[in-house]
């Protein structure tokens, strides 16, 4: 159980204008500006939930993760995770969490991955039997059996990331924080990582909190999303809810044989090149299946695709709506 209440955090940022004169001046008088990284952030996340934490760059995602993982203390507010205050009971708290920072590495650069794993086993004092079981599962699920004996410096990014994720789960944490876990990965690795996250959430009831810019991650993984912008929580709800808010319009792209498709008040043909047409419908007025039925009544459909608003577009429209 994760509970954040009115969390605030302000950073002091050194600022100066460009140029040599300004640089010299800054030697004597530094100017600082204060940036509110987190402004009254509150939310609750239950056990076993999988939550997508999204927002543009600099919105406060990583700061929230840092506070929840106990490595940074907020200026004000309360944060209780499994009955503990992370930055006050750091050691006890971190024993129960796993963290993956997509842009950083926790594996030792110049030794095989397995050595890092063994080290983590000792650091977290994982009993032999549990370690063996976890190790076996992780190696199988993440398909890293071939690479655990390779020094980290010789791994590709995708291989390394899979090992990073395994490393974060060796001590069976109850909560897993993933800070941009798929950043820079190719399609195959991304899918492997997503599948894996789903599996551990389902099988082990691990609570997963995921920050990402990859909306496919969100779509594939999370039911619930929390949107943060300029340090404030703007939206907290299910992905479907969010979609239905914005997903009036759908586009049907049709390849067909026959006469031109007639427009009607519910079917707007935006493009028809004879054999290939695009139709826009409003799903609150006509359902997709009715629309397809209407079209197939008029022509013979060879191929069809239906596109709603993609999550990417959704998020952009949300960013616009909240002006972040």
């Amino acid at each position: 159980m994760i509970e954040l209440k009115n969390i605030n955090k302000t950073f002091r940022v050194a600022k100066r204008n460009a140029g040599f004169r300004e640089a010299v001046r800054a030697l004597f008088r530094k100017e600082y500006s204060y940036v509110k990284a987190l402004d009254d952030v509150s939310f609750k996340i239950g056990d076993g939930e999988m939550v997508g934490y999204i927002g543009p760059n600099g919105a406060g995602k990583s700061s929230t993760i840092k506070i929840m993982s106990g490595i940074m203390s907020p200026d004000g507010g309360e944060c209780v995770i499994n009955g503990r205050v992370p930055w006050k009971q750091r050691k006890e708290h971190v024993r129960e969490i796993g963290v993956v920072f997509g842009q950083r590495s926790q594996l030792w650069w110049d030794v095989p991955v397995i050595d890092s794993f063994e080290l983590l086993k000792n650091v977290y004092k994982v009993p032999d039997a549990q370690y063996k079981k976890n190790y076996g599962e992780l190696v199988e699920l993440l398909d890293i059996g071939e690479i655990v004996r390779t020094p980290v410096r010789q791994l590709s990014l995708g291989q390394r990331m899979r090992c990073e994720i395994a490393a974060s789960l060796l001590h069976s944490p109850k909560i897993l924080f993933l800070d941009e876990p798929t950043i820079g990965l190719d399609a195959v690795s991304k899918i492997a990582v997503r599948e894996f996250i789903k599996t551990i959430n389902r099988e082990n009831k691990t609570t997963v909190i995921l920050t990402t810019h990859d909306m496919q991650d969100i779509e594939a993984l999370t039911e619930r999303i929390i949107l943060i912008g300029k340090g404030r929580i703007l939206l907290d709800g299910s992905l479907d809810e969010l979609k239905s808010r914005n997903s009036g319009k759908k586009t049907l792209t049709i390849s067909y044989v026959g006469e031109k498709i007639p427009s009607s008040d519910k079917l707007t043909v935006v493009k028809d090149m004879g054999g290939h047409a695009e139709i826009v419908i409003d799903s609150s007025e006509i359902s997709v299946s009715d629309a397809i039925a209407a079209v197939s009544g008029a022509v013979e459909i060879k191929d069809i695709s239906v596109e709603g608003t993609t999550v990417d577009e959704l998020v952009v429209s949300l960013y616009k709506e909240f002006r972040i």
Partner: protein, 267 residues
């Protein structure tokens, strides 16, 4: 304890990998050792009375210094740790259920030991078989040998605690480059790594001797060659213990304060 032993082990094993570096180190240290011995020989020939110890004692001091260089050198840092603080990678280390001070202590101790293990034997062996005044002699006596071992361990620990203070300062200064350079130069000079402390004017020696840096290599080496012994050696060792406690406490205090105001860099 087991946690920190594993940090020790991973660094120790990691350090043993770099055999070419060790070989290069051995060659350099031989060259440096010979140059120093020959240079002092020239000084001794012009005026042997101006020196506080026998030439053979000095040769032994220099060979000990070269053999155990990695154990006591102020510049043996793990760049990874500075980098991790500057880049924010330290976030991962803060996510571990262990004490960051102890962890870094174990790691610094490990690289020093692994470097020493690879390098000391060839140097000690060769130095022992050199012709008479240039060679490394046996310890001045059984008591000196025993005290040397105790003092050596203490000196090593004092040096690690000094290094730790430098690591931790990176939390406060963003870039530790400045404080690193300053500490390296100061420590080398004040610890007797450049010129043995007994070679300084007496008034200067009095000051140097009570500073923590004299507790690093100066104390054990002078005990080995028999320059200090008996009660004096006892006092020197007590001072080592005192400095170890002070530096250890200071390091831990600095870490605790840093943790409270830490800002992990980067997104």
């Amino acid at each position: 304890m087991k946690q920190y032993l594993s940090f020790f082990r991973i660094r120790f094993v990691g350090g043993l990998q770099y055999r070419a570096a060790a070989l290069a180190g051995i060659v350099t240290q031989f060259a440096w050792g010979f140059l120093s011995v020959l240079m002092y020989k020239a000084f001794y020939e012009s005026n042997p009375d101006a020196f506080p110890m026998e030439f053979s004692q000095l040769s032994t001091y220099i060979w000990l210094q070269q053999a155990f260089l990695a154990l006591f050198m102020p510049w043996l840092f793990e760049q990874d740790i500075f980098d991790s603080i500057v880049s924010g990678n330290v976030a991962y280390e803060l996510c571990r259920p262990c004490d960051i001070y102890n962890m870094w202590f174990a790691r610094n101790a490990a690289i020093r030991l692994s470097n020493t293990v690879l390098r000391c034997m060839p140097i000690l062996l060769v130095a022992a078989f050199l012709p008479a005044p240039f060679k490394m002699t046996l310890p001045a006596g059984w008591l000196n040998a025993a005290l040397f071992i105790v003092s050596m361990v203490l000196g090593f620990l004092v040096q690690v605690s000094i290094s730790l203070v430098i690591y931790i300062s990176a939390f406060y200064t963003v870039s530790a480059q400045g404080i690193k350079m300053l500490s390296i130069t100061l420590t080398e000079f004040l610890s007797g790594a450049v010129i043995p402390i007994p070679f300084f004017p007496e008034a200067v020696q009095k000051v140097f001797n009570v500073l923590p840096f004299a507790s690093v290599q100066n104390t054990p080496f002078l005990i080995y060659v028999g320059y200090t012994g008996g009660v004096q050696a006892g006092i020197a060792i007590a001072l080592q213990v005192a400095w170890l406690i002070v530096l250890f406490a200071a390091g831990r205090l600095l870490v605790r304060r840093a943790m409270k105001k830490v800002v992990v860099q980067g997104g």
